[in-house]
């Protein structure tokens, strides 16, 4: 088990290095020279070159990347031009806010998809199954930002029940989490349904029925626990989807997380901030998914058995 964790962490390191390089390289290509923006209007080329050196912006992109990486390891991502604050500070301030939204949405997704998927499977080929699948399909096909706007129109503007944006109190979380959750719920419902359909045909449910277990208990106790295994297995990637989706949703709902920070940085041409945000966000996301994976390996005895061999 310990070896499994170490192996996962070791395998993650080259990926994270790759991620940071790719992002750094791409953002470096972006037009908008930070030095030219910072320098006073009447600066001579020599002065600009000096500034470049001072800021560590001289040399090839590889040289600059390794300098950046060296600082990154020390927790220094440079200073945001538009916000005049250290990028790391800004990121760490915003990341928990995104996590809040991501986990909130997953909670919503599970609350919607598990009962829906099970109902669909236990009523296979009935109108209930059909409706659930159409709903799930719509959930997958709907652009999340559009759903967000529709929900704002209905619940915030028309009915006035919930705030349309910001992060004031629990009520403000409901709409963003619902929007993002609906998106995740689409695929989770489909997974739950097919997993449950698979379990329903298993012989051990017949054994349970032959024992005199009531139909309700057969589904809730004997089938559900088995059906949930694939759902737990995809929890990591669901979480990844939630993080990725959060970027859009934050923009729609003015949710002050990393996604909104990144998009604003791009719009402000603040490449230092954008680069730092994208790299750190991806790293933290990868780590969170890893933690979840390890946690569920501890929970499921069969996975534990597989890795301790």
């Amino acid at each position: 088990m310990f070896r499994y964790i170490i192996k996962r962490i070791l395998m993650m390191i080259p990926v994270l290095l790759g991620v940071s390089f790719v992002v750094y390289y791409l953002m470096d290509l972006a037009p908008g020279d930070i030095i030219a923006q910072m320098a006073p209007q009447d600066a001579t080329p020599e002065q600009i070159e000096m500034m470049r050196e001072e800021l560590g912006m001289n040399g090839s992109v590889f040289e600059r990347y390794f300098r950046y990486l060296g600082k990154l390891v020390q927790g220094d991502l440079g200073t945001s031009l538009s916000q005049k604050r250290p990028v790391m500070e800004l990121f760490l301030e915003r990341f928990p806010v995104t996590v809040e939204l991501a986990f909130g949405s997953i909670l919503v997704a599970i609350l919607i998809s598990v009962p829906l998927g099970i109902a669909a499977a236990t009523h296979h080929r009935t109108w209930l199954d059909g409706t659930s699948m159409v709903t799930a399909m719509l959930g997958v096909s709907m652009p999340s930002f559009w759903l967000g706007l529709l929900l704002i129109m209905l619940f915030a503007l028309k009915l006035g029940w919930l705030p349309s944006g910001g992060r004031e109190g629990f009520a403000a979380l409901i709409l963003p989490a619902l929007t993002l959750g609906a998106n995740q719920a689409g695929s989770l419902t489909r997974i739950t349904r097919s997993s449950m359909l698979d379990v329903i045909r298993q012989d051990y449910l017949r054994t349970a029925r032959a024992k005199g277990v009531s139909e309700k208990q057969v589904i809730r106790k004997h089938a559900l626990k088995n059906a949930l295994i694939p759902i737990i297995t995809v929890f990591g990637s669901t979480l990844g989807g939630a993080f990725g989706g959060a970027i859009m949703i934050e923009t729609v709902f003015s949710w002050p997380g990393v996604g909104r920070l990144t998009v604003r940085a791009i719009n402000d041409r603040d490449m230092t901030l954008a680069t730092g945000c994208i790299i750190m966000f991806t790293m933290f996301m990868t780590l969170t998914i890893l933690l979840v994976d390890i946690a569920y390996a501890f929970v499921d005895p069969r996975i534990k058995a597989r890795y301790s061999k």
Binding site: V15, G18, V22, M27, S141, G240, M248, V263, F281
Partner: protein
């Protein structure tokens, strides 16, 4: 559709021919062709059984026709982007079924004209990621070892970055244009195809007929495309349809953030973004472009589902 039925008829005829000429020796190419055709007919027969998949196909044909016709009946400069401030914010009416936007442009016209952006970006980008990703996946799966490891790690890097963020990075690096958008999204979905192709190759890799081909001196490329690729076709085809759906979603997301197809082009995501400011009073501005995105994405998802069931009937139920 006409084409398909004709193809399936051809498939049946070729089956008949095959039976009649059993004694004749077949060349490998002929056999391959025979196999392909009959498989195609079989898939089409299965596909036809699913009403939702057929609805998807029909609606897709309609969308494509609309996208093409719109290019001919509307003039980009006068009908699509020209501002007409006098007629701004007209709510849906007989004259403007979807209303007019903040610049007085007819929303219906723009939505219809905009179909080409989503379709083009979705299809071209998936073509890019399919060719690139599948090749990488085939190579990884076929050669194994270091090559496989390297390709997988690189894919992991690109898959690790959330697609919207990777899209943002690429768009800001190479500037905003529809061609860059196609490549950006193409790149985003490369890992998906690579993984699919590799997973399909793995069980085939050690089969004896591959070994036999290798021993008898058939080149690697020929083996990959002649023997390995056909086995990976089904999952790749399904991935293509699903990929178009995802590509359209990602493209509209980027446009919504102002990083996709540049304004004033009537890309649906960009239209949504423009209408968003007026959501309080003119909700229809966000309603219709979003609906258009959803229907298009839905169509590809329905087809993907249908194709998956048709290609692997065992999986159904």
């Amino acid at each position: 559709m006409l084409l398909l039925t004709r193809a399936s008829k051809r498939a049946i005829r070729s089956e008949v021919n095959a039976v009649e000429t059993v004694k004749r020796k077949f060349t490998a190419a002929e056999l391959q062709q025979y196999k392909k055709r009959s498989m195609f007919g079989e898939v089409w027969r299965n596909y036809k059984k699913s009403p939702s998949a057929m609805i998807g196909l029909v609606v897709l044909v309609i969308i494509i026709v609309v996208a093409i016709v719109a290019q001919f009946i509307y003039d980009y400069d006068t009908d699509i982007v020209q501002q007409n401030i006098k007629e701004r914010f007209q709510t849906p009416s007989a004259e403007h079924p979807f209303g007019t936007d903040q610049y007085g442009r007819d929303v219906l016209t723009r939505v219809l004209y905009g179909a080409k952006y989503s379709l083009a970006v979705g299809i071209v980008s998936v073509a890019i990621s399919c060719v690139l990703g599948s090749s990488l996946g085939l190579i990884a799966g076929y050669y194994g070892g270091f090559t496989e490891n390297l390709i997988l790690r690189v894919c992991e890097v690109f898959a690790g970055i959330p697609s919207v963020l990777l899209g943002i990075a690429i768009m800001s690096a190479f500037g905003q244009s529809i061609v860059v958008l196609m490549f950006a999204i193409g790149l985003v979905y490369v890992p998906m195809f690579a993984r699919t192709a590799r997973a399909a190759v793995l069980p085939v890799r050690d089969q004896e007929y591959i070994e036999a081909a290798r021993v008898s001196g058939v080149g690697d490329l020929k083996i990959i495309f002649g023997h390995v690729l056909p086995n990976a076709m089904s999952p790749i085809i399904v991935q293509v349809t699903m990929g178009v759906a995802n590509g359209i979603l990602t493209a509209s997301s980027l446009s919504f953030l102002g990083l996709g197809v540049p304004v004033p082009a009537p890309e649906w995501g960009a239209m949504l973004s423009g209408g968003r400011e007026f959501i309080r009073d003119y909700g229809y501005l966000t309603l219709f472009p979003g609906l258009a995105i959803m229907i298009t994405v839905l169509v590809f998802n329905l087809m993907g589902d249908g194709l998956r069931d048709a290609l692997d009937p065992k999986l159904k139920q």
